[in-house]
Symmetry: C2
Subunit: 342 residues, 2 copies
């Protein structure tokens, strides 16, 4: 069992810097495409044998130090009672956006065993197969709220901010339900076998810092505290996208590891996050289109700068892009392992 | 003549904080809709009487301290030889994206008098009518390059970064041509009567800080230096969107004023930009959907924090949204004037 990733999460000394990639089970891999060619995306998420299969693929192909459950952050939103579809053009579509008190009232805090048994089943299969730790995950409350309120992706997040600004009670009501869901969902994943969990706050970065602090962070904090209380041994990673302006606050989430995007220099991130938190990140996913020797340079730069942190887990600053050459992803993983040893 | 805005640009003492809004001539105004209802967007940009008319509308309606020429950053791209269309659904479309050396070679550095006479004509009409200073503008070289290389808007800017990473010579060739265009275009606007100019770097924030420093900033610097040399009296504003991670570098552009988006707290921005530069910004455009008394609170907060800077011009952190209630925009302008006097 390769436990370098878990050690790094806890800030323990490691022989080399562990690495995994957000969306490492994904479309850039021909092996994934072969599986996905026969089933639609949601069926793939909900069929434990297939979800486990694609989760395993990058572990061997890339040589990464952790696996992440193949699923989608909106699976839990569907389980709360919304109608979810994935369109190739528009991405996720939630056909009846949440805008009223009665709509929030109708949402349930799902029991994972009952509503998402396939997730727990996938985790159990994976734990038998994996030689590296398994990361479970969930969307963070604010990010899930944006999808529910907007009805999918958004450009300006106007509906979300309008609710936040004009109907604070309703917004809080929704966020509380979401926070309960996140806590129970991640706890169930841990009980089933997930060895670390990551909260994805993909859209927290669209908030002004004061709004982030007031309307997103408190719910993350609550989730982190509750999960830690139930599962004190399980590392919690909090990924915040477009985080440069809110890093000091993100630290207050209490997560063991803060994941950062590529728009902030690693030196500055270390300075803002301080010595008490492990950092995960932060190569620009587009940098995997560089010639290999230049990928090396970027890896070395990030490794060097992250030395000043409590600990470092190498990752991209966002999900790997479908167009990425697999050999470059492999080269990146090798570079991380090679240069962090010396 | 109200010259508070120009004084503030120069860091001189002012009686109150001047304010204008990015996209203040736009769809949120029924008066704009009435004009736009009869002509398509590009025709509106290219008809001096109409462009002047919509430029003037918000000056009276909102009571702002500056007007900004009604136009589009892609007008200059079209003049360089690309085919530009605006689709209601997809936004701007440049049908033949620039990806090869021959495509860059075919682009011209346009003479503004010959290729965009309507812009100069609009400026001349406006200077006769306006009682506040007129701001001319251009896209910054990197932002213009993204549209040209992607063929429009983009999610990941992969084509742009691929060219930057894989074909540096070609990227630089394009950026040099763009920089020359920006310099000559803004100089022509100043000669025609623009009293300040703003460079919009709407997409600089998608770059990792090291890439921004190497691939976007040097061209902005070059443009700022050249324009200042020809027109030492004309203030230059450099707006950088999603700037939290690159603010310290953006200062090196040499611009008189740095415009910032809403994702960075004004206190932090002042700390990073120091005492030698005037700051413009940075209310979240969505905050105009707050109840009016809460808009006041946000205005006061930004005004207070910006006091530590060399000077401050109040603005939104991005363009005003089409859905914005006009009375809230007016309330914001009034709040800026009221609270900055005391």
């Amino acid at each position: 069992m390769n436990d370098v990733f878990l050690k790094a999460c806890r800030g323990e000394k490691v022989e080399y810097t562990p690495v995994w990639l957000m969306r490492q089970a994904g479309r850039y891999l021909p092996e994934y495409q072969a599986v996905r060619g026969n089933v639609d995306f949601l069926t793939l998420c909900k069929t434990p044998e297939l979800a486990a299969k694609v989760t395993l693929q990058p572990v061997d192909i890339l040589g990464v130090d952790a696996a992440i459950l193949f699923s989608d952050i909106l699976i839990a939103v569907e389980a709360m009672g919304m109608n979810l579809e994935f369109s190739d053009k528009k991405g996720p579509v939630l056909s009846e956006p949440i805008r009223t008190k009665s709509a929030v009232a109708r949402l349930t805090v799902p029991d994972t065993e009952d509503s998402m048994p396939f997730v727990l089943e996938t985790i159990k299969i994976l734990r038998k197969e994996l030689k590296v730790p398994l990361i479970g995950f969930s969307g963070a409350p604010f990010t899930l709220a944006t999808y529910m309120i907007e009805g999918g992706s958004s450009k300006n997040f106007l509906h979300t901010k309008k609710m936040m600004f004009q109907n604070r009670g309703l917004f809080d009501y929704l966020m509380k339900k979401l926070t309960k869901t996140v806590i129970s969902y991640l706890s169930a994943q841990i009980v089933a076998g997930a060895q670390a969990v990551q909260l994805f706050d993909s859209w927290a970065g669209v908030l002004a810092p004061s709004d982030y602090k007031e309307s997103a962070l408190p719910y993350v904090k609550k989730a982190v505290t509750a999960i830690r209380k139930e599962h004190p041994e399980t590392p919690i990673i909090y990924f915040v996208n477009d985080c440069a302006g809110i890093l000091k606050d993100a630290k207050k989430s209490g997560a063991d590891v803060i994941g950062i995007d590529w728009r902030v220099d690693m030196s500055e991130a270390v300075k803002k996050l301080g010595k008490k938190v492990v950092i995960q990140g932060n190569l620009d996913p587009c940098a995997l289109f560089l010639p290999k020797e230049m990928i090396d340079d970027r890896v070395i730069d990030i490794l060097d700068k992250a030395k000043a942190a409590k600990g470092h887990i190498f990752n991209l600053g966002h999900g790997i892009l479908p167009e990425t050459p697999v050999e470059n992803a492999i080269a990146m993983v090798e570079a991380v392992h090679k240069y962090s040893r010396s």
